[in-house]
C-alpha cells in the first residue's frame, strides 16, 4: 500500500476513534489515537492475515492486544480491513454489542482471539500461541501490543523471562511508550527506569521506533520480521504521543479515558480528513 493510502487509512481510523468514543460518551481515545500508525501498518503491510476469521488462525500471523482499553483503534482497524461491517462500529460500548468496552471473544467478534482489559496478560497469551505455531510447524509470526503503564504488572516480567529462556523467536512484541497512564506521567506514577536496558537484560532483541512516523513504523516492523527465527524474542519500544492527530488531546494524560463533547468532537474532526466515509 502506498504511503498516501496508509495515511488515508490512518485518518479515517482516527475519525472512527473520536466518533465512537463521543457517541457513547465513554472509552479511551488517547492511547487509541497514539497507536493508529502501528495498527495501520501492521494490518495493511506487515501481517499475513485472513479476514475470513477462524479462531485457530493456522498459517496466518496473529495479533493480540494486551492493553485492551485501546479497543477503538483495534475495532476500527478490524472493520476497515473487512473483518466485520463498518456500520457495526456505531455499537461500540452499547448494550447487546459485539464491540465491548474491552475486546473479548465472548460475543464472537471476528478478529478477536482473547479477552483483554485486565492488564499484563497478553504477552503470556502470545507466547502460548507462538508455541502452538511451532508445534504445528506453522512459520507465521505472533504480534502483541502493550501499554507502557501495563509493564508495571508482574506477569509481563514472568513472560519476558520465559520468552527469552525458551527461545520464543516467532514473537514480535511492541510497547506503546507514550509515557502516560491514568494517574499521570508514568515517570511519576511508577518509573520504568531504563526500559531498553531492562528488555535487553531479559534477553530480548530490542528495537526502537517513532510510533507516529508511518515510515519508521513500517521500517521497524519489517526489520523486526527479518530478525525472527534467530533464537530471540523481539521487542519494539515504540515512542508515541498520546492523542496524536488531535491537537488538544496531545501532550497530557487527561485524554486517556475521557470522551470529547460535541464541540470538541467537531474540533477533532476538522483536523482529520474523512477519507473512506464515516460509519
Amino acid at each position: 500500500m502506498k504511503e498516501e493510502k496508509l495515511k488515508n487509512f490512518a485518518s479515517q481510523v482516527r475519525r472512527d476513534i473520536v466518533r465512537m468514543v463521543h457517541a457513547q460518551n465513554s472509552g479511551h481515545p488517547g492511547g487509541s489515537l497514539g497507536c493508529v500508525e502501528y495498527f495501520t501498518v501492521l494490518f495493511n503491510e506487515i501481517m499475513n492475515h485472513n479476514t475470513d476469521f477462524n479462531m485457530d488462525g493456522q498459517n496466518e500471523d496473529l495479533f493480540f492486544l494486551s492493553n485492551g482499553h485501546i479497543s477503538p483503534v483495534y475495532y476500527s482497524t478490524l472493520a476497515r480491513c473487512g473483518y466485520f461491517s463498518i456500520s457495526e462500529l456505531s455499537s461500540f460500548r452499547k448494550i447487546d454489542s459485539r464491540l465491548q468496552g474491552h475486546p473479548t471473544t465472548h460475543e464472537g467478534l471476528p478478529g478477536i482471539r482473547i479477552a483483554s482489559g485486565s492488564l499484563g496478560q497478553g504477552l503470556s497469551i502470545a507466547i502460548g500461541a507462538a508455541t502452538s505455531k511451532k508445534l504445528n510447524n506453522d512459520i507465521s509470526i505472533v504480534y502483541t501490543l502493550h501499554g507502557d503503564g501495563e509493564l508495571q504488572e508482574g506477569q509481563i516480567w514472568e513472560a519476558a523471562m520465559y520468552a527469552s529462556a525458551k527461545k520464543i523467536d516467532n514473537l514480535i512484541a511492541t510497547i506503546d511508550y507514550n509515557g502516560r497512564q491514568i494517574d499521570g506521567d508514568v515517570d511519576d506514577v511508577l518509573s520504568l527506569g531504563n526500559l531498553e536496558s531492562k528488555w535487553i537484560a531479559f534477553g530480548w532483541k530490542t528495537l526502537e521506533c517513532d510510533g507516529n512516523n508511518m515510515e519508521d513504523v513500517l521500517n521497524t516492523l519489517q526489520e523486526a520480521k527479518s530478525l525472527t527465527g534467530k533464537g530471540q524474542p523481539i521487542m519494539i519500544i515504540m515512542k508515541t504521543e498520546m492523542g496524536f492527530g488531535v491537537d488538544f488531546m496531545m501532550g497530557s494524560h487527561k485524554w486517556h479515558g475521557v470522551a470529547p463533547n460535541d464541540e470538541q468532537l467537531e474540533n477533532a474532526l476538522n483536523q482529520l480528513e474523512e477519507t473512506h466515509g464515516d460509519f
Binding site: I114, A115, A126
Partner: protein, 316 residues
C-alpha cells in the same frame, strides 16, 4: 456397586498416569508445570513426550496465560500445580484469559485441602471449588480415588471448554472399579438406600463409605452418591434421591461456603426444601499436621459424617 479395597494410592498418581495415557493417544495434549513436576506426578509425561512438556518455572500467572494461548492452534493444554496456585493465586488470569475467553484449558490441581498436611494453611486451599464454580462455563471435578482420577483426567481431554480438576496428595484406598465409566456431570451411586442420602466428593467419599458401614449396623438404610462433578451439578440424580430419602448430608474437604454442599443446598431450597447437614470446614484456615489428624480436628472424619446423619434424621 460392590465396595472393596482394590489398593492404596494417591489421586495425583491417577492424574499422572491418565496424563501419560493421553500423551500416547492424543498428540494435541500438552502439559505445563510450574516447578512441581514430581509433586504432580508429571515426570512420566515429561520423559515420554519432552516436546509437549513445558516447564514454566515458579510463575503460575504466566503458565495460565501460555496455556490459554496454546489453545489457539488446536492444542489441549493441561496445567499442573498445587490447587492453591491453580486458583486463588491466578484467579484473574483464569477468569479473563481462560473462562471469559472460553479457552480449552484443563487446570489440574493437586494437594487440595487439608490432606496436604504438614506444609500448613498457606498451601491448604479450602476455597478453590467455590472460586472455580463461580466462573461461568467452568467445569469443576473432584474425583475420589486413583481410578476415578485417572478416568476423569482422560475424560476431560474430550470435553471442549475449561475444566478445573482437583485432586490430592495422600495415599487413600482405591475402591472405584477400574472399568467404571467416568461421565462428566453424572453422579455415581455407590449404595442405594431409603432413609437418608449422603452426597460426598473427593477424599470424603471413602470416609462416607466407612460411615455407611456403621450406620448400616445401626439399622439405617443409607443412599451414598459420589458427586465427582460439582459443576455442572447432576440435578436429576440429586432430586430423585432426595425425593425418596427426604434428608441429606453432604461431605467434602472444602469450606462450607462455596462448596459442593452449598450447590446442593441451593438446588434443594429451590426445588425440594429438605433438612441438610454439611460435613466441611467451617470458616477456618487449616494448620500443619498429619493429614489424618487434621481431618479429625477439622471435622472431616467418618465419625463426623455419622454424627451429621444422626442429627439430620432427627430433623426429618
Amino acid at each position: 456397586m460392590k465396595i472393596e479395597i482394590l489398593g492404596n494410592s494417591d489421586t495425583r498418581s491417577g492424574f499422572g498416569d491418565g496424563l501419560s495415557y493421553l500423551g500416547e493417544i492424543n498428540p494435541n495434549v500438552l502439559a505445563l508445570c510450574a516447578d512441581l513436576t514430581g509433586s504432580l506426578k508429571m515426570n512420566n509425561f515429561r520423559d515420554q513426550y519432552p516436546e509437549r512438556f513445558f516447564q514454566v518455572g515458579i510463575a503460575e500467572a504466566n503458565m495460565m496465560g501460555i496455556a490459554a494461548g496454546m489453545t489457539i492452534g488446536g492444542k489441549i493444554p493441561f496445567t499442573g500445580t498445587f490447587a492453591n496456585f491453580s486458583t486463588s493465586r491466578v484467579y484473574d488470569q483464569v477468569r479473563q484469559s481462560i473462562a471469559y475467553s472460553n479457552k480449552n484449558v484443563k487446570i489440574c490441581a493437586s494437594h487440595a485441602g487439608l490432606t496436604l498436611g504438614e506444609d500448613g494453611a498457606t498451601h491448604q486451599v479450602l476455597e478453590d471449588i467455590g472460586m472455580m464454580k463461580m466462573l461461568p462455563g467452568m467445569t469443576v471435578i473432584n474425583p475420589c480415588d486413583y481410578n476415578q482420577t485417572k478416568a476423569a483426567t482422560i475424560a476431560i481431554a474430550d470435553h471442549i471448554g475449561p475444566v478445573y480438576l482437583r485432586f490430592g496428595r495422600p495415599k487413600v484406598p482405591i475402591f472405584i472399579p477400574k472399568d467404571t465409566p467416568f461421565e462428566i456431570g453424572k453422579g455415581l451411586t455407590i449404595q442405594d438406600g431409603t432413609d437418608i442420602t449422603i452426597f460426598a466428593t473427593g477424599h470424603l467419599v471413602w470416609e462416607a463409605v466407612e460411615a455407611v458401614k456403621v450406620l448400616a449396623n445401626e439399622g439405617h438404610s443409607v443412599e451414598l452418591i459420589n458427586i465427582h462433578t460439582i459443576k455442572p451439578l447432576d440435578t436429576e440424580t440429586i432430586l430423585k434421591s432426595v425425593a425418596k430419602t427426604k434428608c441429606v448430608v453432604t461431605a467434602e474437604e472444602h469450606q462450607v461456603a462455596g462448596g459442593m454442599g452449598e450447590s446442593i443446598a441451593q438446588l434443594l431450597a429451590k426445588n425440594n426444601p429438605t433438612p441438610i447437614e454439611f460435613v466441611a470446614v467451617n470458616d477456618q484456615f487449616g494448620e500443619s499436621g498429619k493429614p489424618a489428624d487434621l481431618m479429625k480436628k477439622y471435622g472431616l472424619h467418618f465419625t463426623n459424617i455419622i454424627d451429621a446423619v444422626h442429627k439430620v434424621l432427627n430433623r426429618k
